[in-house]
Amino acid sequence: MVMTKAAPTLNADFLEAAGSNLPSPLQTLLAQRGKALVDMPLPTRRTENWKYSSRYLQLSDAMASALPSGRKAGPALAFDGYHVVIHNGVVVPEASDFPDIDGIEILSFADLDDIAAQQLAERLDNTLDSNAVQMSRLNTARFEDGLFIRLKPNAVMEKPLFVICETDAHATGSVYPRIYVEAGTNSQMTLVEEYMSTGTEPALVNTVSEFSLADGANITSVRLSLEGTNTQHIGATGARLLANARFDSHCVGFGGPLRRHDLQVRLEAAGAECRLNGVAVTQGKQHYDNHTTIEHVAPHCNSEETYRNIAADESHAIFNGRIHIHKDAQKSNANMSNKNLLLSTGAEIDTKPELEIYADDVKCAHGATIGRLDESALFYLVSRGIDRREANTLLSMAFINELIAQIPVEAVRETVQARLNQFIEQTFKGA
């Protein structure tokens, strides 16, 4: 056993003042949070929730500076819905198409009045367990702007809202996109977050999205992590659900130098339920790490979680799912499944499906597998004249498509399918 060395701490440059365009309550919040992060230890191999990923975290000093905002960015997906563009962490209204619907408020943080900003400042980070998402605390010290969405009771957004978070990595630096959604009683919406980047300089995207769901609210969240090869991504999503609310999450991630997503869902009143689907694919020397936590705080809640990973070449995919049934959360139903495809012996997959249960009248199960493509299925296809590469691609796609097919927005589903297909085909180019 090695003696523990003092863990490296966050470079002070990362705590430069931010958010000069924001209303003062938010500026105060940023300053406070920044102060609390002085000398924050960075995760190491010995940090349990970064055990497999800390070695991919490469924070250069140059990355501390915020990337400048202002360029007008265009939407990347063809779609039928509303859209908001966040460029380098700042909402760009002129490139956005805000919906004009009764009962729905969509604003940038910069446009909030002081009272609303004060309320928001008190609520930010309430959905997240800051000890578990230590790197995301940096977001609340550094965001320059953010997207605020409020659905009044019974408000329904029929068409999905696309949030395009573009990082312009033509210089080295970091961006801190932030989204906050407050869904009133029985309100409904579908939010698609797409993270993309241009440029090839090393950049860090540190993003936090939060959802607060009142009784009976229903939110579908689609999250696509599609950044380029030199962008590190540390993302956190938090959701709190009250009675009979439903949170439906679909995360699709492509590997990169460091890709991390923490998803935390708290079921806080009876009847709340969530479904979490996730797919991550890695190749080359890429990395992807999904950490999820489902807290069954109240009785009579349901959760259903399915994650699939495919790791090829010398890449590394990680899944850590935790289901925590609190003491009085009787009659909880929780199911977690994580299946992994390891396509090469140089690659690595680590998975840890955890259960922590303090109530007796519950039904909880988890399953995890790691394996390869079925040789006989492959043989079947090849013997019928399908070339090996195509057969491999077909079978790999089939492995994840079950989840992709559940994405309720057609345009997204098709784009993602095409991109995954292309990605996987590339993986088998030598086969």
Binding site: M1, N340, P353, I357, D361, V362, A368
Partner: protein
């Protein structure tokens, strides 16, 4: 259900049966640990120089290490200077030559425990090495074993008689600096069993060790080393008890198994250390490192454990599957009641080609206890064609307890396949209804259901242990339904 609850509660209150103290004269060290204590210990045992060196090295490593805190257990820090590191029943001669030489008081203790030490041993066909506090007191059936070429003796004797074997294998599976408690054990271990099965020998009987902590304020640090040469087979049983005391006692053992080509080792444990009273007072801290190395091709190591005792259990019997086609198995039933805490599981490290492992873990929590499965299944890059199947089931009895699963699965080989599944449930009302409808009283029904839940593991135990294990569950569990 009120009536049921009452009956059930009465059942739960059944007390620890092995809680007597044996009044026996003992040589006990003053509490405290330093290099002198280790030197004295080594001197008493008249150990060769290499052993003392080995112990001191381990001690120096231990000083540099930090106590692990990652386990899902909560207890006040152990004061390692407040423990006596050696306690031995006083003897008239140097070593008991036969059972007649053993202090009759001691024999009575074992009789109370129901160990087949004497003629009963013959009937049961079990050779027993009994470890009382810190030293081995008697080893039965030396002769028939010797005839087969099997060495079965206290490890302190092996150090003298077979120094080459000890030198070669001691610490080869669990190095002295492996972890905090293993380092402590390596520094201060007082005795334990040594087993050597030569090439091609199928050990003619089950070997067995009974451990008992008797003296107050002592720690027990025994060390077991089992070596199975090519194509040999051995089945080894281990049982443990301790008297009821208010303060906590430490038990930090190390077990090392080595299996060479085509060898098979089957290691079964029924652990029933004193678990503390119903308020969580007293009980044994059971911090044990058990590991087997399947070095040879086609070798097999199988761990079976029934854990019902100890205030705190921290134990992960593991297999390092190095040889081609080697097999590791882990079958476990861990039951916690009252304020017991268990963090137990296994590690299966697949390094060789076509290695396979099976993990079946059944956790039962009742009362206010906490029961965690923690496991690691790891496939190295060379583990082509390796296979693992894991099943962890938890049963919760009562709404004050906790059941947890922390499985780590790591794979670096595309030809390896791992499957893991876990479930958590309770004794359902339907099951109870079905049994009661047929005239089975509630505590019997619970016992039946729990026994059914554990059947997969019990069937792996040698016969006499399976019976004991079943009974033990009944006693420890006691109708915690309600």
């Amino acid at each position: 259900m009120a009536n049921t609850d009452k009956q059930v509660n009465e059942l739960i209150k059944r007390e620890y049966e092995h809680g007597f103290v044996t009044d026996i004269e003992a040589d006990t060290f003053e509490p405290g640990l330093n290099e002198d204590v280790i030197r004295r210990l080594s001197a008493i045992k008249q150990e060769p120089e290499f052993m003392l060196e080995w112990r001191l090295k381990a001690y120096r490593r231990w000083l540099e290490m930090e106590e692990p805190e990652w386990a899902h257990v909560d207890f006040p820090k152990v004061d390692y200077q407040n423990i006596a590191y050696y306690s031995a029943p006083k003897r008239k001669e140097d070593m008991p030559q036969s059972l007649d030489d053993v202090d009759p008081e001691l024999l009575r203790t074992y009789e109370k425990l129901g160990i087949p030490l004497h003629e009963r041993a013959a009937l049961a066909g079990v050779a027993v090495d009994a470890v009382f506090d810190s030293v081995s007191v008697a080893t039965t059936f030396k002769e028939p074993l010797a005839k087969a070429g099997v060495i079965f003796c206290p490890i302190s004797e092996a150090v003298h008689k077979y120094p080459e074997l000890v030198k070669k294998y001691l610490g080869s599976v669990v190095p002295a600096g492996d972890n905090y408690f293993a380092a402590l054990n390596s520094a201060v271990f007082s005795d334990g069993s040594f087993v050597f099965i030569p090439k091609g020998v199928r050990c003619p009987m089950e070997l067995s060790t009974y451990f008992r902590i008797n003296a107050a304020n002592t720690g027990q640090f025994e060390r077991t080393l089992i070596i199975a040469e090519d194509s040999s087979y051995v089945s080894y049983l281990e049982g443990c008890t301790a008297p009821m005391r208010d303060e906590n006692q430490l038990h930090a053992a190390v077990v090392e198994l080595v299996a060479l080509d085509d060898a098979q080792i089957k290691y079964s444990t029924v652990q029933n250390w004193y678990p503390g009273d119903e308020n969580g007072k007293g009980g044994i801290y059971n911090f044990v490192t058990k590991r087997g190395a399947c070095i040879g091709k086609n070798s097999k190591i199988s761990w079976t454990q029934v854990e019902t005792g100890s205030a705190i259990t921290w134990k992960y019997p593991s297999c390092v599957l190095r040889g081609e086609n080697s097999v590791g198995e882990f079958y476990s039933v861990a039951l916690t009641n009252n304020y017991q805490q268990a963090d137990t599981g296994t590690k299966m490290i697949h390094l060789g080609k076509n290695t396979s492992s099976t993990i079946i873990s059944k956790g039962i929590s009742a009362g206010r206890s906490s029961n965690a499965y923690r496991g690691l299944v790891k496939f190295g890059p060379g583990a082509e064609g390796a296979r693992n199947f894991t099943q962890c089931d938890s049963l919760l009895i009562g709404d004050q307890c906790g059941a947890h699963t922390f499985p780590y699965i790591e794979s670096k080989n595309k030809g390896a396949i791992v499957e893991h599944e876990a479930t958590t449930s309770k004794v359902s009302d339907e099951q109870m209804f079905l049994c009661r409808q047929r005239g089975i009283d509630p505590e019997q029904a619970v016992s039946m259901i729990v026994n059914g839940f554990c059947k997969e593991v019990f069937k792996e135990l040698p016969m006499e242990f399976a019976v004991e294990a079943g009974k033990l569950l009944e006693v420890s569990l006691e109708g915690s339904v309600g």
